[in-house]
């Protein structure tokens, strides 16, 4: 049942040109950064004389592409997540889902998985693109996998938050702006508290937890943070929809 809703969401993303255009534009951006990364690698590395300044091609190009991806997702996810619930609210299509034999949890999870599945296309594409480096040289697969996992968790967290803000309003644009502001605040939180590395507030920052993945490190503490983040916002969304049923 969850998958049926996810399928419906995916279908509706691709039913309009919106889905295709977003995919095409983002892939174009990632491709350009990948190309630049490969070009710059030789220039930079030929300039680096001491061994400590040198890094592998995977890391050099990967940093480029994944750095951009995490930043671009900050804009892309609110644009995609905004319509999930608020548009159904505006078009009064929610009763269609509410009167079908589905629990609210299934509806919310289905919508969440639908969006994450769409964004995963991009993550898989980025990984495949970086894997092509293997044709010319030996690359660090672990680094790419860690980054992909990190990006996946980051994007899933964005989606969960976007879904929640989408459930709050019946105006998709308002939902997009709210989730963008919230995500941006969470992203740069650690900048504000940069002076105090042990600050609890800084630990809430999404970017900080993405950093270890970006370095190629899979840390269960960071995974736990992302999973808890996702669960929190999905639960809030379910509660918000339940309030609809109770309060009308």
């Amino acid at each position: 049942m969850i998958l049926n809703i996810a399928r419906k969401e995916l279908k509706s993303v691709f039913a309009s040109p919106m889905g295709w255009i977003i995919l095409a534009l983002l892939m174009f951006a990632f491709g350009t950064y990948y190309l630049n990364g490969v070009n710059d690698y030789f220039e930079v590395m030929s300039g680096a004389i001491r061994p400590a300044e040198r890094s592998g091609v995977t890391q050099f190009v990967g940093q480029n592409v994944y750095g951009l991806a995490s930043f671009i997702m900050l804009f892309a996810v609110p644009l995609l997540s905004m319509r999930l619930i608020s548009e159904e609210r505006r078009n009064q299509t929610l009763p269609f889902l509410f009167s079908a034999p589905l629990s609210l949890t299934e509806i919310v999870l289905g919508k969440f998985i639908g969006l994450v599945a769409f964004l995963s296309i991009l993550i898989i594409y980025i990984a495949l693109m970086l894997f092509t480096l293997n044709i010319w040289t030996d690359i660090d697969f672990g680094y790419i996998l860690a980054n992909s996992l990190g990006l996946f968790l980051l994007v899933a967290s964005f989606s969960a938050l976007g879904l929640y803000f989408s459930s709050l309003t019946s105006q998709p644009v308002v939902a997009a702006i709210l989730s963008f502001i919230a995500l941006f605040a969470l992203m740069i939180l650690d900048r504000f508290f940069a002076g105090d590395p042990s600050s609890t507030m800084a630990k809430l920052s999404l970017m900080r937890h993405f950093q270890s993945f970006a370095g190629g490190l899979i840390d269960t503490a960071d995974i736990a943070y992302f999973v808890l983040f996702i669960i929190t916002f999905l639960t809030l969304t379910i509660r918000r929809l339940d309030a609809d049923r109770l309060r009308g």
Partner: protein
């Protein structure tokens, strides 16, 4: 068959302390069509939302085929097909895509989906619209898609909130026939503003006003109340009221407009012939005699704006 499909008991819904629906109880058997009548804002849609689990009742309970909507919402919802007042259509899909999604979400088994979609389209006259985007369909066709969506999983109870809004007369006739057809084997609840529609389609009528049930009974009760024991008679040389009341069986007479007179007669007598004979004998110049029907609107107004009047006798 006397299977109860819908049991609503003491449904109450509060909106900020105001009772939108209060203490509504009724039952519906398999094979019956129930019509919900009421002025705007009377609580028809709210009641329907509660029946379908879209809104939690403040008090009371709903049972669908014996399954409690609050305790087992999934099982109960599986037995219901619901068309809300605002059609819940995803306009970016084609008719086929949308109905397939509807079938899937209502747990139609994978191999039966295609057949279910075809059947629903056929029943609602949508076959030639399969590949059209819902967005581009006319209002009436969109309404049909809404109905198709509600009957696609062949539910035990079909709940339609104003199903004939926006349809042309021919479509309305088709939809009424469809409702009758579904009502033959399943149960249907529909709400409407169009009063004759209730008479044509429904077995039972409920009139709801300000959240309270003011009338609940068979359509024949309503019809009897409507037709009553009244005649409207037209004379060229109208007699006086006293003269007319000499005819056996007449209890009351009054002068109406255009040389017409309205008479009431006792239950069980048919004074029509006596009136005609008296008219011929006394040369009253009878030119018209017809049963005087109170329009359904009048009955409706009587019921919703006053206490229920004792039946005309």
């Amino acid at each position: 068959m006397t299977n109860l499909t819908v049991e609503a008991s003491e449904l109450t819904r509060l909106y900020g302390g105001r009772e939108a629906v209060s203490n509504v109880s009724f039952e519906l058997k398999q094979g019956e069509v129930l019509g919900f009548l009421g002025p705007n804002g009377a609580g028809k849609s709210t009641t329907m939302k509660m029946l379908t689990g879209n809104l939690a009742p403040s008090a009371g309970s709903v049972r669908i085929c014996g399954i409690d909507m609050i305790e087992n919402p999934k099982e109960a919802k599986a037995l219901i097909g619901y068309l809300p007042e605002m059609r819940p259509l995803y306009k970016e899909f084609t008719v086929d895509e949308y109905l397939t999604i509807a079938a899937r979400l209502h747990r139609v088994a994978g191999k039966n989906i295609k057949k279910a979609v075809e059947t629903a389209k056929e029943r609602c006259g949508l076959t030639h619209m399969s590949k059209r985007l819902i967005e581009n369909l006319s209002n009436g066709y969109q309404q049909r898609v809404g109905i198709a969506q509600a009957i696609i999983h062949n539910p035990m109870v079909v709940i339609l909130d104003e199903p004939t809004v926006g349809l042309d007369p021919i479509q309305i006739r088709d939809i009424r026939a469809l409702i009758r057809e579904i009502g033959g084997e399943r149960s249907v609840i529909l709400s409407t503003h169009i009063l004759p529609e209730v008479e044509m389609v429904c077995d039972h009528v409920q009139i709801i006003d300000k959240g309270k049930l003011v009338f609940n009974g068979g359509i024949d009760v309503l019809k009897r109340q409507r037709i009553g024991n009244k005649l409207l008679i037209g004379f060229n040389q109208a007699p006086t009221v006293a003269e007319l009341l000499k005819i056996k069986g007449l209890t009351e007479a009054e002068v109406a407009d255009n040389n017409m007179m309205r008479v009431r007669f006792a239950e069980g007598v048919a004074p029509h012939e006596a009136i005609v004979q008296a008219a011929v004998k006394n040369k009253w110049g009878l030119y018209q005699i017809a049963p005087d029907q109170t329009s359904l609107e009048d009955v409706f107004v009587q019921l919703t704006y006053q206490e229920i009047e004792p039946e005309a006798s």
